[in-house]
């Protein structure tokens, strides 16, 4: 009896001490499927690198969950004329190196973005940035451009003084962007963001420590993030369930229920913005050049069925490219599934007996990609289209996709600009090697009207007019059945339930870890 009392007293003491130590500052153990490939934000345009950029750097502005822009390093902005947008910068911002942040850093960063293989396409419309004074900067475009603000979310100012000069280790300029080899920027960082990289073993562990001089005092309380990449989905979930990590992303669909039902855990999901589609190659198959055949196939594909049965509800059935919230989202367009109508259309087109064709799909790129492709094959067999399907890993897939080796090809697309026009430019404009438009249009759908409207939308700066144009394009693509839209993959995050996870995640899948509060 005595010992048990003693034990309780001791335990209480330990608990009190532990709690006292925890209040205020907290450590977050984070696991994702992969870690950033580099410390240089300009080395690759990918979700992983942008997630990293939001931790270590700060953009001029960033997206709010509602799809608006919120000030970060820029406090306000205004249009000076058709091609110039003026940004007024925050004055109290320090880089991790201790240097003060000024307009020159923005000019430097934009110049560097235009040198990056991955970003120069996005920033092609910009002639550059001009410092008006130490904390005012103008972004100048070649012609009126509707996406200046969206692009400003990609400008994460880098420390000009820190990245200037020659690196003694390889006798090359420090600001050089190198993808496959050592470079100063690949292994050193100085951003303005909430966290500094204090230790990094690539592919094993990265430690982020809160930057003491971070300008935004009104944010989260995470002092340190220990980030481990865990590629294997079941292991990632087990690590969360066993308490070895506090936050995981993404959560595999098979484990959503389990995570949701586990006490002490919190699951946050949201409809994503990556559209999954099948492209029907009109150049390879005369049948696909007939809009009735394409329409019949769209009618024969059961979007809701696949979402329910294969995706376990973890996707949103789609009838267009633009997810809700995008300017081009057209609420009138709904998934159509009508087998009788599909058969009718096939008869009208003169293919009552169907035909045979080929198809390729990746098997490790999108969630359940292989299963979805198989379901598509069996659905099409109901209207007499016999498809021979070949699936392969993503490392091999894209070369085959580019070579257009099959009549039907799967592709998922996330708009880098978070804007509808990006879908049209890459997936549905007439393929043109010169301009790079229609680069991923393996359906070879070509409609001059869609081309003209897409280009028009790029220079339209009036949001209402621009939305009308983009929604119109979605409607044309839908009526033409230019492609088969499947669904938008959902996004998922899971964490312990003592954090404000839902407040830091967004449809771009860039969690703002700087704002995370652990109670």
């Amino acid at each position: 009896m005595k010992t048990s009392v003693k034990r309780i007293v001791l335990l209480t003491a330990v608990l009190v001490l532990a709690l006292a130590g925890m209040s205020g500052a907290a450590t977050l153990k984070l696991a994702m499927d992969a870690d950033p490939v580099s410390l240089d934000p300009h080395v690759q345009l990918s979700g992983g690198m942008l997630q990293y950029s939001h931790m270590v750097f700060d953009p001029l502005v960033r997206w709010t969950p509602e799809g608006d822009f919120e000030p970060r390093l820029a406090v306000k902005w205004e249009m000076v004329n058709d091609t110039t947008t003026r940004f007024f910068l925050r004055k109290d911002v320090k880089f991790h190196s201790g240097n003060m942040f000024t307009a020159d850093d923005v000019v430097f960063t934009l110049e560097r973005l235009k040198k990056s293989d991955d970003y120069k396409g996005l920033f092609e419309y910009f002639t550059g940035a001009k410092a008006v004074d130490s904390h005012t900067v103008d972004l100048i475009t070649k012609e009126p451009y509707g996406l200046v603000m969206a692009m400003a979310t990609y400008i994460f100012p880098m420390d000009k003084a820190f990245y200037s000069g020659t690196d003694p280790q390889n006798s090359k300029p420090k600001d050089l962007i190198i993808k496959t080899d050592y470079s100063f920027a690949n292994f050193n960082e100085s951003g303005t963001g909430p966290f500094k990289v204090t230790q990094r073993e690539q592919g094993v562990k990265t430690t982020f420590t809160r930057f003491a001089d971070y300008w935004d005092k009104n944010t989260g309380n995470v002092n340190e993030i220990i980030f481990t990449p865990i590629a294997e989905a079941p292991t990632r979930v087990a690590a969360l369930l066993s308490g070895d990590v506090d936050f995981i992303m993404p959560v595999p669909p098979a484990d959503l229920n389990r995570v949701e039902k586990t006490k002490g855990l919190k699951l946050v999901t949201m409809s994503g913005s990556r559209i999954i589609t099948f492209q029907l190659n009109q150049k390879r198959r005369a049948e696909f050049a007939n809009p009735k055949v394409r329409l019949a196939m769209d009618y024969a594909y059961n979007n809701d069925g696949v979402v329910k049965k294969i995706m376990k509800g973890f996707a949103t059935a789609a009838a267009q490219n633009s997810p809700k919230g995008y300017q081009g989202y057209n609420p009138a367009l709904q998934p159509r599934y009508d087998l009788a109508k599909a058969k009718e259309l096939m008869k009208e087109a003169g293919y009552a007996n169907g035909f045979e064709c080929t198809m390729i799909a990746p098997n490790n790129r999108y969630v359940n990609d292989e299963k979805i492709a198989q379901a598509f094959v069996s659905m099409m067999s109901k209207i007499g289209i016999k498809i021979s399907l070949k699936t392969m890993p993503k490392a091999q897939y894209w070369d085959q996709f580019d070579a257009q080796v099959a009549d039907i090809q799967m592709i998922g697309w996330h708009s880098d600009t978070e804007d509808s026009a990006n879908f049209f430019e890459y997936l549905y404009m007439c393929p043109d090697k010169e301009t790079g438009r229609g680069q991923y249009n393996s359906g070879n759908y070509c409609n001059k009207e869609v081309d003209a409207l897409t280009l028009q939308s790029n220079t339209e700066t009036d949001i209402a007019k621009r939305s009308a144009i983009l929604q119109d394009i979605e409607k044309t693509l839908y009526e033409d059945a230019a492609y088969i839209p499947l669904h938008w993959q959902n996004l998922s995050w899971a964490s312990k339930d003592n954090m404000n996870t839902e407040a830091i995640v967004n449809v771009m899948n860039f969690p703002y870890f700087g704002d995370l509060v652990i109670k």
Binding site: S242, D244, A395
Partner: protein
């Protein structure tokens, strides 16, 4: 003996060359590394330029000879992903794998020998039947499943053991990250080593058992019984010694196989060794790293096999004599 050694080493070099050639020849089938390096937006022209810069457009033989010449200078190329020389990457990952293999081997040896002997001496006992029965089950469950089951039982349900990674490590000799010296590191080692040993354990139990049974039938053991020696002395001294010889030979070869099997175990446990590094390099089409891994593991196989052959030559002179003909 000297001639035998030289011949074995020459053979080993030929094998290494063949391995590197095959590794190099298949690397193109894993896809285009440039795809993994750039975002989706980058145009085909820009990708072509990057390919040219990396020398990926040169003819196969040019690339292969460049690889061989560099390899002779100790340079196996650079990893696109790690942005460092592959030798450096592999060396930094090797300790994790070797420690895992070491612990798994320890489990195999410590369990298979007593279990095998028991099953050989008392083939009809319940325990022996249980050992043999469960070894069949053990050999037929894939490592992947064993590993996930272990994680769910011991990490998720019971919360006794950590679910992934190596835990706290200590840096030895300036390059060897060891998990053997901290409590946390050892706790992290338990499940991966058990999972890895689960493939070899049944095999070794059966091997020890059948060898032991064979030896127990031999003339000299019968003679020992006839002499009236203590059963313990007959079993553990006279019979067991001769049982070990073939077990050691097979064990040496299996060690190499175990290194290859770490690929699965490491992937499940997010164990940062050479195995998981290899799988990741395949999915990223990081070809230099992929080929180097194949060469390095091939080298381990060759070295172990050569050493086993040499030791065998020492123990059993007939091998040397046969080689001379």
């Amino acid at each position: 003996m000297f001639a035998f050694t030289v011949r074995r080493i020459l053979q080993a070099i030929v094998v290494m060359l063949v391995i590197s050639f095959i590794g190099f020849a298949i690397k193109h089938n894993f896809g285009d590394p440039v795809r993994e390096l750039v975002g989706e937006r980058v145009t085909p022209e820009e990708r072509a330029q990057i390919r040219e810069r990396l020398g990926l457009n040169d003819p196969f033989l040019v690339q292969y000879s460049r690889f061989l010449v560099d390899a002779l200078h100790g340079d196996l190329g650079r990893s696109f992903f790690f942005k460092r020389p592959v030798t450096e990457v592999i060396l930094s990952k090797a300790p994790a794998t070797l420690e895992l293999v070491f612990c798994a081997s320890l489990i195999v040896i410590l369990l298979s020998v007593p279990a095998g002997i028991h099953a050989a001496i008392y083939p009809r006992r319940l325990l022996s039947r249980f050992i043999m029965g469960s070894s069949i089950v053990g050999v037929s469950i894939p490592v992947f499943l064993t590993a996930i089951m272990l994680i769910y039982i011991f990490s998720v349900e019971l919360g006794w053991l950590p679910s992934f990674g190596r835990g706290e490590t200590v840096l030895l000799f300036g390059f060897w990250e060891s998990g053997l010296l901290t409590k946390d590191g050892l706790l992290h080692l338990i499940m991966p080593s058990v999972a890895l040993s689960s493939i070899m354990l049944p095999l070794f139990i059966r091997l020890v058992r059948s060898e032991m049974m064979e030896v127990l039938e031999s003339e000299y053991v019968k003679f020992a019984w006839a002499k009236g020696l203590q059963p313990r002395r007959v079993w553990y001294v006279h019979a067991f010694k001769n049982t070990l010889l073939p077990v050691i030979t097979v064990g040496g070869v299996q060690l190499g196989i175990m290194v290859a099997f770490t690929i699965l175990t490491e992937t499940v446990f997010q164990w940062q060794g050479m195995g998981s590094m290899f799988i990741e390099s395949v999915s990223r089409a990081d070809t230099a790293l992929m080929v180097s891994y194949i060469v390095v593991v091939g080298a381990i196989f060759v070295v172990v096999n050569t050493m086993v052959d040499l030791i065998y030559g020492l123990v059993n002179p007939t091998v040397r004599v046969a080689g001379r003909q």
